[in-house]
Every structure is written in C-alpha cells, then in structure tokens.
Amino acid sequence: MTTTLATEDASATPLVQLRNISKTFGGIKVLKNVDFDVRRGEVHALLGENGAGKSTLIKILSGFHHPDEGGELTVNGAPVAFSAPRDARNAGIATVYQELLLFPDMTVAENIFIGHAPRTGMALDWNEMRRRARALLDDLDSPDLDVDARVGGLSVANRQRVEIAKALSQDARLLIMDEPTASLADADVRRLLDVVRRLRARGVAIIYISHRMPEIFALADRVTVLRDGALIGTRPIGEVDDAALVSMMVGRSIDQLFPKVTVPIGAPVLELRNVSFKDEVQDISLVLRAGEILGIAGLVGSGRTELALTIFGITPATSGEILLNGEPVTIRSPRQARDIGIAYVPEDRGLQGLVKAQTIRENVSMALLSRISRASIVNRALESSMARDAIARFGIRARGPEQRAGQLSGGNQQKVVLAKWVATNPKVLIMDEPTRGIDVGAKSEIHALMCKLAGEGLAVIMISSELPEVLGMSDRILVMNGGRMVKTFDRSEATPDVVGAAMTHAGAAHGRAEQAGSAP
Amino acid sequence: ASWTGGDDLPTSPLACDGTPGTVAAKPYDGGVPTNPPDRNGKKITVVDIPKLIGIGYFNATSKGIADAAKELGNVDAKTDGPTKANIDEQITFIDNYVTSGVDGILFAANDPVAIAPVLKKALAAGINVVGYDANSTPDARQWFVNQAEFNGIGKTMIDSLAKEIGEDGSFAIVTSTFTTPNQARWIAEMSAYAEKCHPNLKWLETVEAQEDNVLSFNQATTLINKYGDQLKGIVGMTSVATPASAEAVTQAGQCGKVAVVGLATPNAMKPYVEKDCVKSVVLWNPVDLGYAAAYVLRAAADGTLKPGDTSVKAGKLGELQVVNGSEILLGAPFVFDKANIGQFDF
C-alpha cells in the first residue's frame, strides 16, 4: 500500500498526528502501521468497509484502546500517551462513539455534563447544568428536547443529539464522530451537517466517519480510506469522486447500488385491515403480494417500527384484522408470527437481532430449533451444515460456523440475522433498516439478496430511513406519519420530492390517508 | 394465649408443693456400641458437638468438658460444630467425625429424631456416644446427661415468676424459635404447671428472637411498649434472651416494675442482678453439665458404667443418679441470686 503524501500541507502542524499505529486484538492485527493526521478547522472523513478498523483507530485517538508498541501519537506536535479516555478528554479530544454511550436512567442534562458538571464550591450546580444543557441543545436546533427527560425514554435521534451535545459541552479542539448519522433520518442528517459546519467555522477539527457518500462530499475537506486495517490513502475531497472512493474502499468497483430486479408480482400474501396498536399504530390497511417489495418511509418516530412489531406479534394489534393467504390469523407473539411464516429482521441488530455471545451456528438456528430437532434434541450435524450453507449463501465473511457472532463486522452480523430468518422459509419478510451502518459493498450485497428472495416469491416489507434506498428498492412505497399511513406511491410515481413531502407535511394529510389496499 | 408449639408429647407437671415426681424405674433403654475396642484406661479422643458454637451456654459446657478431660488425663477432647443451630449441618459434622474414627462423641441434639440415624451409625462403628443438654431418641446413644427434668424447669421458672409478679400477674415469654425442642418442651411444661398450680397467672404471648442478642432486645422492648403497666414479667427461655430482656427492662426504666426471670448464665446476668433489676436466674451449671458428660463418656468407654447401673461417679460432682432408663441426672436446677452470683464465673 502506498501512502499519498502529495496533499500534505507542510506549513501547518497538524493538531493531532498518528504515525505508524498498529493494534492487535487477541493475536489478530486489525490496524497495520497507519499514519493519520487532522488539522485545525478541517473535516477529515474516515472511510472504509465494515471492519476496516475505523472505530479502532479513533478509539486509539480517544484513549479507549492503547496502540501496539512502535506507534506515535502527537497533539500539537508534542508526543502523548493516553492511558484512559480521561487523558484524551483533557487533551481536548471529544468523541461521539458509534455505540451510543449514555446513561439511560439519568436526565438529558446530566448525561451531557457527566464527568465535568458545573459546580459551586464542592457541590454540583444543577440549575447551571440544566441551563447550559438547554443552551447547547438550542444550539443544536433541538428546542423540543426536555433537559429533564430520562434518556432511556428518548428516541434514537434524540439520544444522538444528547451524545453530540455531550461532546460539544467539553469545548473540544478535536471532535470525533463515528457514524453519527447511521440512525438518523434525512432531515436530521441535514441538521447535523449544519452543526458540523458551524464547528468547523469555529476552528474545531473534526474526524467524521460515515458510510453515506453524499455526506462525505457535502462535508469533508479531506478523506482517508482504510481497508483491512491498512491505510489506502488520504486525498483532498476535490481530487476524488464517488466511484474512486468506493474502489479504494472495496478494492473493486461496485456496479450498481440498488440492483432492483423486477419480478412478477403474485397473489396477496399478507393483508392488514384497520390494524391499530394503542395510539402508536393507527388504522393501517394494506395488501402485500408475493414477490413484492413494499418500502415504508417515514420520519423517526412515525410508527414504522411499531407497525412491524405489531405484525410480528411483539406488540399484538389492539384492533383490526390480519389475513395471511386470505385466512384471518391472530398473532399474539413472535413465535406465532414465525410459525405462520412471518419473519422480522429488526432495526437494532445488537439488541434485538443477534445473541452476540453465541456462535454463528447458534444464531442461525435460533428461530427454527424445533424444526431441526427430534424429540427436542437438537441435530447438531444438521445445524452445522445449515450454518455453513448460510455462510456460503449469504457470503458471510467469518472463520466458520463456530465463530462468535459478536466478533463479526456490522454487515456480516446483519447477514447472520438475515440468514436466521431466511432459514425459517418465511412467506413474509419484514426488514427494518436493513442496511443501517453497513458499508457500500455489504449494502449492495444485502440489496441483491433482497431482490433474490423477492424473486423466489417472498413478500418483503422494507423499512428504511434512507430515501434513496426506499426509492431504489421498492415496488411500492408507503409513507407513515404519526402512526398513520399518509400516502402510498407506486414505484413509477415515487420521486424524492413527493415522498419527502409526504413524510414531512403529513399533519394535514391525516384525514385523507389513502388505503394502500386499494392500490392497483 | 395458647401455646401450640412443641411436640405432642404429654406434659407431666410436678406437684405444687414440691413433692418430687415419682419416677417409675425403667430398664436400660439406651443403645450399645458394636464391638468397641477395649478402651479401659486407655487414652481416648472425644469430640463434642453442641447444637451450635459461639454462644455463651455452649462455651460453658465446652469448658466443663475440657476441665474434665484435663482432670482425667486420658481424654483428648475438642469441640466443633455448626455456627447456627441447624440439624443438617450438625449431622454432617458428626458423620465426618464418625468417619475420621474418634473414640467418643458428646452431643447436644438440635433435633432428637433427625440426629438419630447418624448417632446409630456411630454406635455401629463402636464409638461411645453420650448426649447432654438436648437428647436424641434413647436407642441412638448410650447415655444422656440430663441437666434437669423438663417438668422441674417448668416448676422452678413458674414458681420464681409467681413469687416476683404475684399470683395474678401477666407475663410474656421470649424464646429462640418455636421449633427448638428443649425450649418448646419447657414452655409446654411451664404452661401445664402454671395451669395446675398458679391458675391466675396471665400468659400474654410468646415471641421468637432466634439466638440473637439484638433481636431479643428489640422483641422484649416491643413487649414492654405494647403492654405497658399490664406486663409484670418477662421470661427468657435462652441464655441469650434473658440478659437481653433484662437489658430491655433496664433501658426502658422499668427495673422493679417488670420482673425478668429465665434461664441464663451468671456472667451475663451479673450487672442486672447486682443492680437489683433481676432477682433470680435459673440455671443448672453448664460447666458442670459438660464436666459430667465427659465423665459419663469416660465411664462408658472404660466399661465402668454399664446398662442397669443406678449411679455413676463424676469427679468433683460425686455420685450422679441414673433415672428414666438411661439418663443421668445432674441435679435440681440452680437458682442464682444476688447473694451467690458473684461466686460463679461462666
């Protein structure tokens, strides 16, 4: 690998510089002699596939991990060694981690100021803390976020805001953001990008990690690409384009981002008639056909996940009717849903999808244990061969079926969850944010898999906050807002403008919610 | 209040005037060790397994056993046992000592029936087995050194109580747990004797306080608070409950108004007796009890105490009588008072 030094601006000492950094976990080298630097007032984007080592690199910068011997880390030209995150904070480095690190039982204000709360004498000054939290959140365009709310009860987007406010509260010279937009909807993303630009204008250096190309081009001054733990190169953003970055990342070019294949649409499989769950899902009616991909668009909190949970029996419908192949069914638990052929790939992979402590084999077989067991005894041979098949079929990059799921990269974890549900031979597959936090390569693989499954006659519901994905993959698009369906679009009539408008200007549309069931 | 604790065995209250109860002569009903080696005059190792270790009472019995062992010169005795009065653990302790091959076992049973199988196992292994303080079923041991007959305790306690609080006074009892066999039997005998000889005594209630100092104190205090002037006496059934009750009476400023009688060791009671807060304390001397038990075991091992004998020599205690088939009576319970309590140190 060659490092591109051509773009180095020799005159400016970088704020932070990493030289020859390596990191080994349990004998496996996940970072290999990486050089990296950040300058004041720049946004430096860090790119790479899942598992390329981005998070590891920034965790070294933030004192979370110690690099292997031989590396060098300087701040303002002076060598430093961080023994704990505390030291990095003191050096002016603030980090928004990929896995949000918040305290669910504390208030928003306290989460923001934990570790450096304002004091009067010995005692914490709660009022000052709340006041400053308020100001920070207002600064982030979040006037609606109550500083006294329990963080555990907040939506993902709001938690993200708290996390960013927390980083800002430290008055950092370097702000590191690891996939801050992974779980944000478009408008939230824009709001975040504004914040980042404002910080840059103030002279703060920013390291920005994201799998979303448009953000990189909208924001970054320079971009560094990692692949398999090695540095591929650092370029000014003006010198690269989308395709170049992708090929730097994956080492090959990706032909098509949304490889939508049209397949013949079959008979109705799933039908919802006026399904409601409390006030979170209200009066949803729709028809889903074999081979069809139904995209569900909406803002955060619009009730898309709630709808999926209702169909899947986690929060059973409080009224309305669900029909499968024309037969009315009652779904009161995920088990019943599974047994009648409904599968759900949940949005929170780590919490709801995977048992990280268990092996790929155990994860893949989890939803159909009863089918591969006789007299309750699990058939281990069958199970292992199933896991090997899944690894082959879904292209899961793993040492083998006995590898622990938690050790895989995000994209591969997602494939394991998908494999688990496809193994049950479902008729309906619901995928909630199927490509959240997943690199371009894996993303297109998952899209291809989705099309293939639809082609095999599966009816697919895809919930996504990424508008291009919804538009690119769906045969039909259903827009939700406030727990209601506000509009449905056919693939042909769906453009970013009309769908986006339906998503945001829905308040008025409630009364006129269209019946998806009556769509052609 | 009606006492429902205890087992269903009949009570046998003594005569009110102190005529000794008639004890029907009974043939030996104890067990016999199987093929014990000849231990006559030889050095023997003895283990003492009380109900629990770490309370004053059993510390005193252990001391008695140690004293006797020293006096005899040919007994090697040690005390070991559970830290809580638990039938299961006590059984395990005995079992382990049977396996390790001691010559003699001294025990105070947490439960007479539960302990029987393992004691029989000891007898079967040729070990000499003697009980004290709390009996097992007779055939599971050779001899039992009885500190005082249940009905004797019942009479002494109720008589002292009636003397202090008057024939129509009201009293309450603080005991360890309702399931402790000795305490349960004593309470049953007290109840029967009070009914027979002091019918106007009013028994208010009985509370449990484990073998726990602070809990006993709190329970006694609550009784004082609850009954106010109505409460004339508290009876402590254990050597833990009695001093704690006396402390409760003292701290409540009720000395002289609420009498405390009960079973207790002199050292714990000295402060209260000396301050006249407690007039008399009932107890056999537990040091003597352990001492006698050790002598009886030695005699059984030597073969000098045989089934059918009517008395046994127990060192400084002199001749002790065999009663009730296979029990050896220590003597009447002793009443400590201000005059004599200073002479005892245990």
């Binding site: 979370f64 704990a84 995150p85 980090t95 690190l101 918040l102 305290f103 669910p104 039982d105 504390m106 934990i114 570790g115 450096h116 709360a117 004091r119 010995m122 005692a123 914490l124 365009d141 609606d144 976020l145 109550d146 006294d148 709310a149 329990r150 009860g153 987007a157 927390k166 909807a185 408008a187 709001r191 955060v300 909190g301 986006g500 945001t504 200007h505 | 429902t4 270790i53 770490g54 309370i55 004053g56 830290t83 809580k84 309702f178 209630e205 509370v207 449990e208 100092n213 602070v214 809990l215 104190f217 709190n218 205090t221 609550t222 608070n225 609850k226 001093p243 409540a252 714990a268 402060p271």
Partner: protein, 328 residues
C-alpha cells in the same frame, strides 16, 4: 422543509411535581406505607404510636438503615455485598474487644470503621481490577469473615463494656443517638449522592460502566472508593449494633445481610444498578422495623410473621412496578 421533525410525541414538558414523583416515586410509596401503618395500627393499638415505642422502633433498627445506606451505594454502582452481615459481626467484635481491653474509647470507635473500609476496599479491588463479580467475592468473603470470627473468638461473649463506650445508649434532646446517626447520615449521604461529582459518578458507573469510562470517570478507582464508603457505613452500623446492649455476642448476626439488602432494594434501589436513593433505603429500613413491631401489637401469631413480611416486600415491589409502568 420544517426542521422540527422530531416533534415530541409524548410531551416533553413535565411539571416539577410529576418529575419529583418520577424520581422519588418509590420513596413516596414507602413513606405512604409507613404513615398508613402508623395510623392503622395506632388506631387499633394506641400504644404503638406512643413516644417510647416510636423511639424503640427507630433506635433499635437504626444500624440496619445505616448499613443500608452504604449497601445502596454499592447496589447503585451495579454491585452487591452479601457479606455485610458477617462484616458487621466482625467489626462489632473488634470494637468491643478494644473497649474492654482498655484502649481509649475513640480508638474502639474508629477501629471498626477503618477495618471495615480496609476489608471492603479489598473486595472493591477484587471486583474492579480482577473483575470477579461482586456477588462471588462477597459470597466468599461471607464465609471467610464468619469462619474467621469464630475461629478467633470461639464465640466468647464480650462483657463488662465500659459505659462510655456504649454510644448507642447516649441521648441528645431525649432522642437516642442511633436515631441521630440514622437521620444525619441519611441526609449527608443523600446530599453527597445528589450534589457531588463523585456521588453522581456512582450512578454513572452503575448505569453504564463503559460510558462512565469514556466520560472520564476512573471506574476502577471509583469502584474501590464506593466499596470503601460502604465499609465506612458498615463500621458505623457495627458500632451502633455493638453498643446497643451491654454484651457483644461476637458472632455473625443471622440473616442480617438479607435484611440490609432488602431494605435497599425495597427502598427503590434498582438491583440492576444506576438508580435509587439512600432516602428510600432508610425509609424501607424504618418500614420493616415498624412492620416487625406492629405485628406484635396486632397479635399476629408470630408463626405467620415471616409470611406477612414476605407479602409486604412483594406488595411494595409490585406497587413500584405498577408506578413505573404508569410514569414510564
């Protein structure tokens, strides 16, 4: 396009009252239970609410409340100490032994606190640096302390304690000192938990240790410190325990650890860590003491006492669960 996209579905502005109920809900439930108990039982048996009985209830069980303060901190930090009963037994014995052997009274008072802190710091170090789960360390410690105590003392009672030593029998304004200790320490601890950075970091460590670490909290060091503070409270509890009577049993009080843990968790300290207050645990300790006393006043057959206690624990916990679901 409107930027106000995350318009709160559930209104964000909660009133001060609702917020207080939200934070201190469990404390209110227990307080209500205590008040209700005093009213009802006092109505049936007026002596129950007499000043002497109230004093006995508070004073006789203050040591449990004091120990529960430290225990609450440990549980809030996501750990537990099942050895606290044995520890108190050991510390009480140390205090008594020093007192009867002629050491100055202040040494007899301070020694158990220091020794308590040393032992719990050791526990904390094993938990924090060697990463042995606290329940395992303290289960082991329970045995070690209990067995060690009996080995050393043989269970001999400590008598002839000097009167000056019996701090629990002192009174101030007619109120026994344990009550003052209980009140004072609860207030100090509550302020400490609410208004100091270290107090808040206890919640942080219990709520999310990883997040606490990246927030710059020295998790290991703090964990040791939390256990040390717990040892401090255990030491004070031991002194109150030891000086209540004129003898010290020098054994481990049976089941004391469960009583202390129960007071903490019923007082609203989440066993999962991260939430709870020391006010709640003190109230719960008072509630249990009051229940124990009231059963005697109500002539509930002592045979059923423990079932009633079990039911009451269940009732308060279920009420709390219901409340949490209500507030959410």
């Amino acid at each position: 396009m409107s930027l106000d996209i995350a318009a709160p579905r559930r209104s964000a502005s909660t009133g001060v009252f609702a917020r207080t109920i939200g934070t201190y809900g469990q404390e209110f439930i227990i307080l209500a239970a205590i008040v209700a108990l005093f009213i009802v039982v006092g109505f049936i048996a007026p002596r129950f609410v007499s000043q002497t009985n109230l004093t006995s209830i508070f004073s006789g069980n203050a040591y449990i409340a004091v120990a529960a303060i430290g225990m609450s901190m440990v549980i809030i930090s996501g750990h537990i100490d099942v050895s606290v009963g044995s520890l108190i037994g050991v510390l009480a014995t140390i205090a008594g032994t020093l007192a009867v052997n002629g050491y100055p009274i202040w040494i007899a008072w301070c020694a158990p606190i220091v020794v308590g802190m040393v032992i719990t710091s050791l526990i904390g170090a094993l938990v924090a640096y060697v990463r042995i789960p606290s329940i395992v360390v303290t289960l082991g410690m329970l045995s070690i302390l209990k067995g060690g105590l009996i080995s050393l003392t043989g269970g001999a009672w400590i008598t002839n304690l000097p009167p000056d030593f019996l701090i629990a029998q002192f009174r101030l304004f007619g109120v026994p000192s344990p009550v003052w200790f209980m009140l004072g320490l609860t207030i100090v601890a509550a302020m400490f938990m609410r208004y100091t950075a270290f107090g808040r970091s206890i919640y942080a460590i219990g709520g999310n240790p990883e997040a606490a670490r990246v927030a710059g909290i020295r998790v290991e060091r703090s964990t040791v410190a939390i256990f040390a503070i717990h040892g401090f409270f255990a030491g004070i509890a031991a002194i109150l325990f030891a000086t209540q009577l004129q003898v010290i049993q020098s054994t481990v009080p049976a089941g004391l650890e469960l009583t202390v843990i129960t007071a903490s968790v019923v007082g609203g300290v989440s066993i999962l860590g991260g939430t709870g207050t020391v006010v709640g645990s003190t109230l719960a300790a008072i509630l249990f003491a009051a229940i124990g006393s009231s059963l005697i006043f109500l002539n509930v057959s002592a045979y059923w006492l423990r079932s009633v206690q079990g039911l009451l624990i269940l009732a308060t916990v279920l009420a709390d669960m219901a409340r949490r679901r209500g507030v959410k």
